[in-house]
Symmetry: C2
C-alpha cells in the first residue's frame, strides 16, 4: 500500500480525551475515530489489526473443534424474559422498540439466543458434544465509556457456547476452551494468566478470567512465579496451572489463604481479555433446552460460555507492546510487516530502488506500507515508529549511491545496512 | 468436516412460512434460522456461503482501489440532523434512546457517518480521489419483512463512498465501481444487468441498479439482446453498455422511447442486488465536507455511494441456481466443494476407502463435507442434493469391491465411475 493514497490520518498531537496509552496511540496512529461516546469507526489500519486478531481467535476456535455461526445483533426481548434476565440486566442493555412497538434489544451477550437455536435444532444426545461460537458486535451501554476500545459501548466479541450431556463432558469442553485461550493469546505475543474468578463450592461454578500482562494494565495481578516457568516450557498443563495462585488486586489478600510466600509471588499489571464460565443447566432448564438421553429420557444440557474481547485485544496488545515513540506490533497481528521509507521521494534513483523493492516485497507476499510521500524524513520516521510495523526499510540518496539500504527492527531498534537484495531475502526468510 | 458432528439441521419438510425458493431452501438446507421477524441467525453452512460472497465483494473492491474500513452499527442522530435526513427517513429507521436519553439509531446506510469521517480527516485536494467502503450489518425496519434474507430487517451490506474534487473525477469513480460490480457478480456465477434507475436531467444524478437474472426473480426486466452478446465477450465496455436499453417492469413502457423492437428485446426476471449513485455535493455541502483546492479555495467534495446487498446475494444466487431437489452452488461461493457420501457407514471396507479419500481431499485443500452418518442412502442422497455442493463422491460396498467410486456433478447430474485416485486427481485438477 502506498502511503500517499492510503487513508491513514496520523496525528502529531496527543488528543486530550485519551487517558491511556492504547487510546492515545490508536487515535494518533489513525487506527480509530470516535463517532459517538464509546462508539468507534475503525479506519483501514485499525481494521487490519482487528481482522488479524479475529482470525487468530477463529483459527484456534476451529482447531479446538468449535463451529462458527453468526447470530444477529438485534434480539427479541421475549427470549430474555424466558431466561429471566430481561429485567435483571439493567441499564447496560440497549433496549429498543421497533415500528410495531415490539420490545427488542441490541445483544450484550448471546446465551439466550444460542440456547433457543440449540433447543429448536438439536434433539438427541448423539449430537453432543457441541461447541458453537460467533464473532459479532455487541453493545453494552456503559455509564461512562472510556479508554477507547478498551471500554467502548459497541465492541467485537467472540463468544462460544458448549453443550454437553453431563458434567464430565462439560468439564472437558471447559478445558478445551481453556487450552484454546492460552494458545490464542500466546499467538498474539501476549502472556495470559488464567485466574479463578470465583472460588465456588465443590461441584459449583467453574469460571476463569484471563488477564494479559502489560505494564500499563488496568489492574494489579498477583501470581505464583511457577506460572512463568510453566509458560516458558510452552506446554499447557491444566492441572499444574490449576494449583497455582493467581488473583487480581480486587481479590488478593496479602498473606491470605493460598497466597504463596513473598519470594514465590509475582506482582504485575494486567488487562482482562477473556472470561470463561461453566454454568450447568441454568439456561437449558429455564428455556427447556433438552435432548433425548441414551436411555430415552429428556436431559437438560450442561452449558458453558467463553468470551474473548476481540476489539478490546487491539488496545490490550498495544498496552503490552509500545514505547514512548509508538506501537510495537507483534508480527502475528501487525497491519503490515514492513514499512518502506523513501527519504527523498521525487529523486529518480531513490524512487527507482524503492519502487523495485516495493514490487518485490509485494510479489513475495510481504505486506508493505510504502511511504512515498513528498515529506520530510523526520515526519516519515516519526510516523513509521508511531504505526509500529515490525520492520522498517529506509532508503536514501547516500545509501542508494553506495548500494545499501537500512533495515531497522522496530522492537529492538537494531539497524543494519545491507543491499536491497539482502534485505528482501532477510524479510522473506 | 464430518457430517456426524457438523451443526447442520436440514429439514425434510418445507417450512410453511417460506414463500420463495431461496427462503425455503435456506431453511431446509440448515443455512439460517429466523430469530425474530426479518432477523436471522446464520448457521455454519449459511455463514460459509455468506463469507465467500463477502470475500469476493471485498477482493473486487480492493482491486478497484477502494479501501476498507468499518463504521459502527449504532450512530448518533446528530449527524442525520446535519444532513436533514433524520426526520425524512421515516419509520424504516430503527431509532434508539440510550441510558442518557441521547437519540441514536441503528444505521440503515452510512452517507452521514462517512461524510463526517472524511470531513474530520481529509483536508487537501492532494488526498483525492478516495473510495472508502465497509461491509457491515444494517437495519431497516421493514413493515412486512419477508422472503427470508432477501428482504430481512438486519442485513449485511457493502457500501462504498467516493470522494472527488470535481464531476469528471466523480464520474471516473462511478465508472470504476460500475466495472467492479460487473466483475463481482460475474465471479459469483451471475449475469447482472445494469439499469438506469433514474433518467435524470443532463448533468444531473447518475444512478444504476444491478439486477441479476433468475427465473424466479422478483421483478420483470426488459433489456436489449445486445447485452448478452457483450456479456458473452467477457469485456466490459461501459460506453456500449450505456447505449443499451434495460428497464424493470415498473418502468418499462412497451413501445416507449428507447425501447428496441421486439426481436431485439429480451424479457426475463431479475433481482436487484446492487445500486450505485452519484449525488454530487448533496452531503458535502450540508455537512461541510470541504477540502482545500489546488488554488487554495475550499471545495465541497463530489460524492457517490455504491451498495451491494451481501446477505441478499445469498438468496439471489439460490434463486438463480437451484432445481426441484435443492441448491446448485456455483463453485466460487459453495460452502464446500465436495460432498463425500459413505453409503454404508460402519462397513469396514467402505469406511476405510472413505476415510482415506477424505484425508487426501482435505490435505489437497479441497473443502469436503463427509457424510459419515449411520443413516439410509436415500437420506444422504437427498440431503446432499439439497445442500447443493458442486461435486458428490459416492462410495458403497459394491464399488469398493470393484475398486471404483461414483463422481457426480450436481449441476449437470452427470455421473462417472472411476477409481478413488482418479476422482481425487480430477477434483484436485
Amino acid at each position: 500500500m502506498r502511503r500517499s493514497s492510503f487513508f491513514l490520518p496520523t496525528l502529531k498531537e496527543t488528543p486530550s480525551e485519551a487517558q491511556i496509552a492504547s487510546h492515545r496511540l490508536m487515535l494518533r496512529a489513525g487506527m480509530i475515530r470516535q463517532s459517538a461516546a464509546g462508539i468507534y469507526s475503525w479506519l483501514p489500519l485499525g481494521l487490519k489489526v482487528l481482522r488479524r486478531i479475529e482470525q487468530i481467535v477463529r483459527e484456534e476456535q476451529d482447531a479446538a473443534g468449535a463451529q462458527e455461526l453468526l447470530m444477529p445483533t438485534i434480539q427479541s426481548a421475549d427470549i430474555w424474559r424466558e431466561s429471566g434476565r430481561y429485567d435483571a440486566y439493567g441499564k447496560e442493555m440497549l433496549r429498543i422498540r421497533d415500528r410495531h412497538d415490539r420490545e427488542m434489544l441490541f445483544g450484550p451477550t448471546n446465551e439466550e439466543l444460542i440456547t433457543q437455536l440449540f433447543r429448536d435444532n438439536v434433539k438427541s444426545y448423539r449430537d453432543l458434544p457441541k461447541i458453537l461460537y460467533h464473532i459479532q458486535w455487541k453493545f453494552r451501554d456503559e455509564v461512562r465509556p472510556r479508554f477507547g476500545v478498551m471500554r467502548g459501548r459497541e465492541f467485537l466479541m467472540k463468544d462460544s457456547y458448549s453443550f454437553d450431556l453431563d458434567f464430565e463432558g462439560a468439564k472437558k469442553s471447559y478445558e478445551t476452551m481453556f487450552t484454546a485461550y492460552l494458545k490464542t493469546f500466546k499467538r498474539m505475543g501476549l502472556t495470559a494468566i488464567p485466574m479463578r474468578a470465583d472460588s465456588g463450592a465443590i461441584g459449583g461454578n467453574l469460571t476463569h478470567e484471563f488477564h494479559i500482562l502489560a505494564e500499563t494494565g488496568e489492574s494489579g495481578v498477583f501470581y505464583d512465579v511457577a506460572y512463568d516457568e510453566l509458560a516458558a516450557k510452552g506446554e499447557i498443563d491444566l492441572e499444574a496451572l490449576d494449583r497455582l495462585y493467581a488473583a487480581t488486586d480486587e481479590k488478593h489478600v496479602p498473606g491470605g489463604p493460598g497466597v504463596p510466600p513473598a519470594e514465590q509471588l509475582r506482582e504485575a499489571r494486567g488487562i482482562e481479555v477473556g472470561h470463561i464460565f461453566y454454568f450447568g443447566t441454568k439456561y437449558s432448564k429455564a428455556m427447556n433446552a433438552v435432548v433425548q438421553g441414551p436411555n430415552g429420557d429428556p436431559v437438560a444440557v450442561e452449558m458453558g460460555s467463553y468470551g474473548i474481547g476481540v476489539s478490546r485485544l487491539v488496545g490490550a496488545i498495544i498496552e503490552a507492546h509500545h514505547d514512548e515513540r509508538g506501537i510495537i506490533w507483534p508480527a502475528s497481528v501487525a497491519p503490515f510487516q514492513v514499512g518502506l521509507i523513501n527519504l527523498k521521494s521525487g529523486d529518480t534513483a531513490c524512487d527507482a530502488v524503492c519502487e523495485d523493492l516495493y514490487t518485490k516485497l509485494t510479489a513475495a507476499g510481504i505486506e508493505t506500507l510504502y511511504d512515498d510521500r513528498d515529506d520530510r524524513a523526520g515526519v516519515k520516521f516519526a510516523d513509521m515508529d508511531l504505526i509500529g510495523l515490525p520492520w522498517q526499510v529506509v532508503i536514501g540518496p547516500k545509501g542508494v549511491a553506495a548500494g545499501i539500504v537500512e533495515l531497522k527492527n522496530r522492537a529492538t531498534g537494531e539497524r543494519v545496512e545491507l543491499s536491497a537484495e539482502a534485505a528482501l531475502a532477510r524479510l522473506a526468510g
